[in-house]
């Protein structure tokens, strides 16, 4: 991924999972996962809810220990939280009692205020520094959360469905913002989402997790910035979505053979 050589951050980290597994008691959430993410790569993980995609993200973040296998960042086993990894959560998780700028500067030394103000400028909220989070819209809160993650110059940014609660227009704006900041900073990005379109719009690779295992690993070779109206974009999106929904026939063709089948021979999904 040398195309992101305009990097101003510390570059990306290489993520490697080796027969990674996680169980909660008797319940196996993830098993035998093999995965390599190259430095600076943008990978999206899709899957139905409860498939284990968020668990994988939490393991990479070091929020929870794996029960099997290894997880390596640049060859180093993940043991707990890592200062070069930052997470954007589903909810913005801003501290409501701190003003926007102080939220971005969370965990920074006193001297970090200037850097925080600069990143806040980058996410387009430079004029809202002194605002309380309660006064921001959902999209603005996620921008603040993004700024808070980026001010640490992370080598790995984990995005746990951060745009799930936003409206469609705000989401598209956020996609552009995330893509541009990723290009500028060169970090490795791992996005968990249930929105296939979002995954195709942003990621170099889309990975599908089903029943705790990787079921699909597809490279998206569309040029950036990607246009959602593009025919190839639509085709890729449809193919992955069909796979997620486990539709038998990936090639869209009209099957009329069922018409001759008596009703008793059909299985109804009611």
């Amino acid at each position: 991924m040398t195309e992101h050589n305009t990097s101003t951050g510390q570059g990306g980290v290489r993520v490697q999972a080796r027969s990674l597994g996680k169980s909660y008691g008797q319940r196996r959430v993830l098993q035998g996962t093999e995965l390599v993410i190259e430095p600076g790569e943008f990978v999206a993980i899709v899957g139905r809810s409860g498939c284990g995609k968020s668990t994988l993200l939490r393991l990479v973040a070091g929020l929870e220990p794996a029960t099997q296998g290894d997880l390596l960042l640049d060859g180093q086993t993940v043991k707990g939280l890592n200062e070069h990894t930052r997470i954007m959560f589903q909810e913005a998780r801003l501290l409501p009692w701190r003003r926007v700028l102080d939220n971005v500067a969370l965990g920074l030394p006193e001297s970090g205020q200037a850097a925080a103000a600069k990143v806040l400028e980058q996410v387009g909220l430079g004029d809202r520094q002194k605002e309380w989070p309660a006064r921001l819209s959902g999209g603005q809160r996620q921008r603040v959360a993004l700024a808070r993650a980026l001010v640490h110059n992370p080598q790995l940014l984990l995005l746990d469905e951060p745009l799930g609660a936003l409206d469609a227009l705000t989401r598209i704006e956020m996609h552009e913002l995330i893509e541009n900041l990723w290009k500028a900073n060169g970090f490795t990005a791992l996005l968990v989402t249930h929105d296939v379109q979002e995954a195709v719009a942003l990621a170099d690779r889309v990975i599908l997790i089903e029943d705790g295992a990787i079921a699909l690993d597809e490279r998206i070779d569309l040029p950036r910035p990607r246009s959602r109206g593009d025919a190839r974009f639509a085709a890729i999106e449809k193919r992955i979505l069909d796979r997620v929904l486990q539709r038998e026939d990936p090639e869209p063709s009209v099957d009329t053979s069922w018409i001759t089948t008596p009703a008793s021979g059909l299985r109804w999904a009611i």
Binding site: L63, R93, P96, W97, G107, A134, H152
Partner: protein, 314 residues
């Protein structure tokens, strides 16, 4: 123009008349009314020199003034009736002294400095008790709220002791401490301990775990987490506890001082009772009320400042 001015002057007189019945602290309202009138006058002069006067702004304004004065009407009337019945001799001063003599008594006590000494002693007592009991409640609440094994160890004991009303302890307290200062401090401390303890405990337990997880991933130390996330998150609950405690604090103080005291508002009133000085007794009662109100205003002020981020307190 001249006719307009005369009408406006008439209006000024009307406002004056209306406000005459109001207590003198409404001087500001009056000034405001006059200022508004002057402004209105100018607007007429400039904009509609020959049209009939627009009464609406003035009527609206008078409506607002009336609305603000209305709640004071009944208390004012009561005080007037009370004063009249005392003056006319319908009400014996042994039952209730006239409002004016209460004011006189308060003035005399304030002038001699006696009032301030007693207020200082009572308030000092209350605040020291609050500091001891509330401080202990805060520290223990923080500990049991944050450390599991301490909760297991202490919480059920504290919940059991909580069911004993502080005032039920009075006979025991007199046996232990006599009727000295420490007895009063003990009673106040015990009473204010529980509201602060319980609310601190629950405040800490109700801090959003998502925020704590976020803080951990952003590299906050344990102390950083505590100071930047857990404490501020528990603050609204802690302040609720404080307000409860402040209310209890005055009640217990009054009871404790009434039982026995060598100084303080309770002493002042009990002493006055001996000499049938009902006016001084009433001064004492009003002082308690004023101190209670002051404490509540203070607690509200703290809420307004510390919870200014909260949409509910803006």
């Amino acid at each position: 123009m001249t006719s307009l001015n005369t009408t406006a002057n008439d209006l000024v007189d009307k406002v004056d008349l209306f406000l005459d019945i109001a207590p003198p602290e409404n001087e500001r309202d009056r000034t405001l009314a006059l200022a508004q009138l002057a402004a209105a006058e100018q607007t007429w002069a400039v904009n509609i020199p020959s049209s009939p006067i627009d009464w609406q702004p003035l009527l609206n304004f008078l409506g607002i003034v009336a609305k603000r004065l209305l709640p004071w009407l009944v208390p004012l009337a009561l005080v007037i009736v009370w004063q009249l019945s005392s003056t006319l001799g319908w009400l014996s001063t042994r039952v209730l002294p006239a409002p004016l003599s209460v004011v006189d008594a308060a003035w005399a006590l304030a002038e001699s400095g006696e009032l301030w000494t007693h207020v200082r002693i009572s308030a000092g007592r209350a605040l020291l008790g609050l500091a001891i009991g509330g401080g202990l409640g805060l520290v223990l609440g923080l500990l049991t709220g944050s450390v599991r094994w301490l909760e297991t160890l202490l919480d059920s004991t504290i919940q059991m002791v909580r069911n004993i009303p502080a005032l039920a302890l009075i006979p025991l307290v007199i046996l232990w401490f006599g009727i000295e200062e420490s007895a009063k401090l003990f009673l106040i401390s015990v009473a204010v301990f529980f509201p602060i303890y319980i609310n601190t405990f629950h405040g800490i337990r109700n801090v959003d775990p998502g925020l704590i997880e976020m803080g951990r991933t952003y590299g906050l130390s344990r102390w950083g987490l505590y100071r930047q996330i857990i404490l501020p998150g528990a603050m609204s609950s802690i302040l609720v506890g404080l307000r409860f405690s402040l209310g209890l604090m005055w009640v217990i103080l009054i009871v404790a001082e009434t039982i026995s005291a060598q100084a303080g508002i309770g002493y002042l009133t009990m002493n006055a009772r001996e000499f049938l000085q009902t006016d001084v007794v009433l001064v004492g009662i009003l002082l308690y009320a004023a101190l209670g109100k002051l404490a509540d205003v203070f607690a509200k002020g703290l809420e307004k400042y510390w919870l200014r981020w909260h949409p509910g307190y803006q």
